[in-house]
């Protein structure tokens, strides 16, 4: 096992990936019970990509996930209950029920919400990093994009801007083989998405996205390079989407054999293996971690389910700094569901 991570960070890495998976299992149960409002977007099999990349950041750095990057926000210290209350659309959630799933921001933790339109985070996070540089702060930003998302124009305009400005941006390309039902050969004519880096004059890297330790090392190098003024990196993690696009999607278009092969590459099992073989964790330690996380999740799920839905009046607030503006449009007027 080659890693630059100290033992306690290795344990932490494993725990966070495990939390990613177990929390998601809770969400699946809640979804099956009809308690999740809207869709559920799985990250099964992609935990190493999310968690190990986010692990490369320092306190004060910025991270903007996509909705599959559950592990990334957990790695940045977002509590499981915030994710649960988001999916359950409760008043206690970070967005207070105004937006769904991982669409929430916690600036104190440097975590910023995506919008649904893929690719748009690239120019926006670049602007955040531009601002931090103008303020004299040495802040690195990390955001994510799928194989499908790389086809969007906003990605192109954003990464080119970041390249020209040599901004400290790490753009993680999650290659998981699919964009909804669209296979990669219908998405792009290239073999390796990291090759797009050549066209922007920036650094490109490719790594086995299911090897948490390998992902961490490349991500760490990219973060260090960014902080040192080396500019952006396109970091392609080769992984696989083990579930449908969302829970409603039975992924009938996926070859079961391919799924079977990738199941053998499960990132959590692989990390557990190296960590136990190298004595960082014992089988007993693994079990203990598992039990402790489940115990915590029991409380978090209970909290989320017990949380109230937001008060309807919230729907009319927060459009502008001055709530009077949106309110005025309603004054004495028939809008909404009264």
């Amino acid at each position: 096992m080659t890693t630059s991570l100290p033992t306690e960070r290795l344990e932490d890495l494993y725990r966070t990936m495990l939390l990613n998976r177990l929390l998601e299992e809770r969400l699946v149960n809640l979804y099956r019970q009809g308690k999740v409002v809207g869709g559920l977007y799985r990250s099964l099999g992609q935990e190493a990509t999310s968690v190990a990349t986010a692990f490369a950041l320092e306190p004060g750095d910025l991270l903007a996930p996509l909705i599959r990057n559950l592990g990334s926000v957990l790695a940045r210290g977002i509590p499981a209950r915030d994710v649960l209350t988001q999916y359950l659309a409760r008043a206690t959630s970070p967005s207070r029920g105004k937006d769904a799933n991982l669409h929430f921001s916690v600036p104190e933790k440097g975590v910023y919400s995506p919008i649904a339109m893929l690719g748009t985070l690239v120019p926006v996070v670049s602007g955040m990093l531009l601002a931090e540089r103008m303020k004299g702060n040495s802040v690195v930003g990390m955001t994510y994009l799928g194989d499908g998302g790389t086809s969007v124009g906003a990605f192109h305009e954003g990464i080119n801007f970041a390249a020209v400005q040599k901004l400290p941006l790490v753009l993680v390309i999650e290659f998981n083989g699919w964009a909804y039902s669209t296979p990669f050969e219908k998405q792009s004519a290239v073999r390796t998405l990291a090759d797009k880096a050549i066209g922007y004059g920036i650094r490109g890297e490719v790594v086995d996205g299911n090897d948490a330790l390998a992902v961490y090392e490349v991500a760490r190098a990219a973060v260090d390079r960014a902080r040192a003024g080396g500019g952006p990196t396109l970091l392609e993690c080769k992984t696989y989407r083990m579930k449908g696009h969302a829970e409603h999607d039975a992924q009938a278009y996926v070859d079961p054999k391919e799924l079977e092969e990738w199941r053998r590459q499960d990132p959590l099992a692989r990390l557990a293996k190296v960590l136990t073989e190298s004595g960082v964790l014992t089988p007993a330690g693994l079990r203990a971690a598992h039990e402790e996380i489940e115990r915590r999740l029991d409380a978090d799920v209970a909290f989320a389910e017990a949380s109230p839905f937001p008060d309807p009046s919230l729907a009319f607030r927060g459009v502008y700094a001055d709530d009077g503006i949106a309110e005025r449009a309603r004054r004495g007027i028939f809008t909404g569901g009264l």
Partner: protein, 345 residues
């Protein structure tokens, strides 16, 4: 958490009920039928978009087309709305009849420049028309949150050169999609996702296209005119009996086409009832209600017995949590309150 259907009154979402000829067909199947029949009729028609092929589209509106017409006419594209719409524009300029799907209509924002600056202005500038349709699931009511619930109609109603269609019934979904595909100008076709599986009509397969630009009088009345479109038609119909009880007999107009909208039918009705109320799911400021109210106050001023009222969503994004979305969406209660106030004039 309230079932949106109940929240919307659980009315019977059909105009042709159980009886009559034809096959009971959902709004969604009506869309699929229109695509299928137009592709059968005219080999220039093809569909393109994200996941429209083997998967049949996120809402299954293109299901079965690939099997019947093959990959050349049922084109899975990269995740790129500007490429989808741009390719459609180019294909239309060279004589084909593309139908581009936006997986959710919210994503049409990514193709805004090509639609408003290329497609909309091409005939005027160069004499070359752009006969294409951009269609997709629009509207709220299914807890989709701010990015899967929008009503973008006004961005396109506002743009000279584009047409905008928003059917409220299964019959119109089919006949007006056909008409849009046969139209010689670019059409934004807004399918209301809340209605996809909730509304039905008895349809005779193979029936021909309808006509754009014509409103439908869904209920005749003399007390006041309610102008609406899309999913809100059903809210208006839901409120009608209660108004009847109050002795206010509403005339309910379903615009169906938002650009060009049917000024004549609206003015005729308002001149008859003397009262005009506009109901739409879109937010209030600069919604279609504004244009209708302005036109009515311009051209039917002498016939008005009372102010023109608008019942709309408030000026906010579409919130996600059910109680918030219910507060956002106009409903029968709001409509009744407005209609009763107007009736007092």
């Amino acid at each position: 958490m309230a079932d949106p259907r109940v929240a919307r009154g659980g009315v019977t979402f059909t105009l042709t009920g159980g009886e009559g000829p034809g096959v009971e067909t959902t709004y969604l199947d009506a869309v699929r039928q229109a695509l299928f029949e137009e592709m059968e009729r005219d080999e220039r028609v093809f569909v393109l978009g994200e996941d429209v092929g083997a998967y049949g589209g996120a809402f299954k509106a293109t299901e079965g087309l690939l099997e019947r017409f093959g990959p050349a006419r049922v084109l899975d594209t990269p995740l790129a709305e500007e490429a989808i719409v741009g390719a459609a524009i180019g294909a239309a300029m060279r004589g084909l009849r593309p139908v581009a799907e936006m997986q959710f209509i919210d994503f049409i924002s990514r193709a805004f420049d090509l639609l408003t600056n290329f497609a909309a202005k091409n005939r005027y500038r160069t004499g070359i028309g752009v006969p294409m349709v951009v269609r997709g699931p629009s509207g709220a009511g299914v807890h989709g949150g701010p990015y899967h619930s929008q009503s973008p109609e006004m961005y396109f109603v506002k743009t000279p050169g584009l047409k905008v269609v928003a059917p409220a019934t299964a019959a119109d979904a089919r006949s007006l999609l056909k008409a849009s595909i046969r139209d010689d100008d670019p059409v934004i076709f807004l399918e209301h996702k809340f209605l996809y599986r909730r509304v039905r009509d008895r349809l005779i397969p193979g029936e021909d296209a309808g006509t754009l630009g014509q409103a439908a009088v869904r209920r005749t009345g003399t007390g006041l005119t309610i102008v609406t479109y899309g999913a809100m038609l059903w809210t208006a119909l839901e409120a009608a009996p209660a108004l009847e009880v109050d002795g206010i007999s509403p005339e309910i107009l379903d615009l169906r086409t938002l650009m060009p909208w049917d000024e004549d039918t609206v003015l005729t009705s308002v001149k008859k009832t003397g009262k005009c109320l506009i109901l739409h799911e879109d937010t209030r400021t600069a919604g279609l209600g504004a244009e209708i109210a302005a036109t009515v106050s311009e051209k039917a001023f002498e016939w008005l017995d009372g102010p023109i009222l608008r019942v709309t969503a408030p000026d906010t994004p579409v919130p996600y949590s059910p109680p918030l979305e219910e507060a956002f969406l106009p409903n029968a209660k709001t409509l009744l309150a407005a209609a009763r106030q107007l009736a007092r004039y």
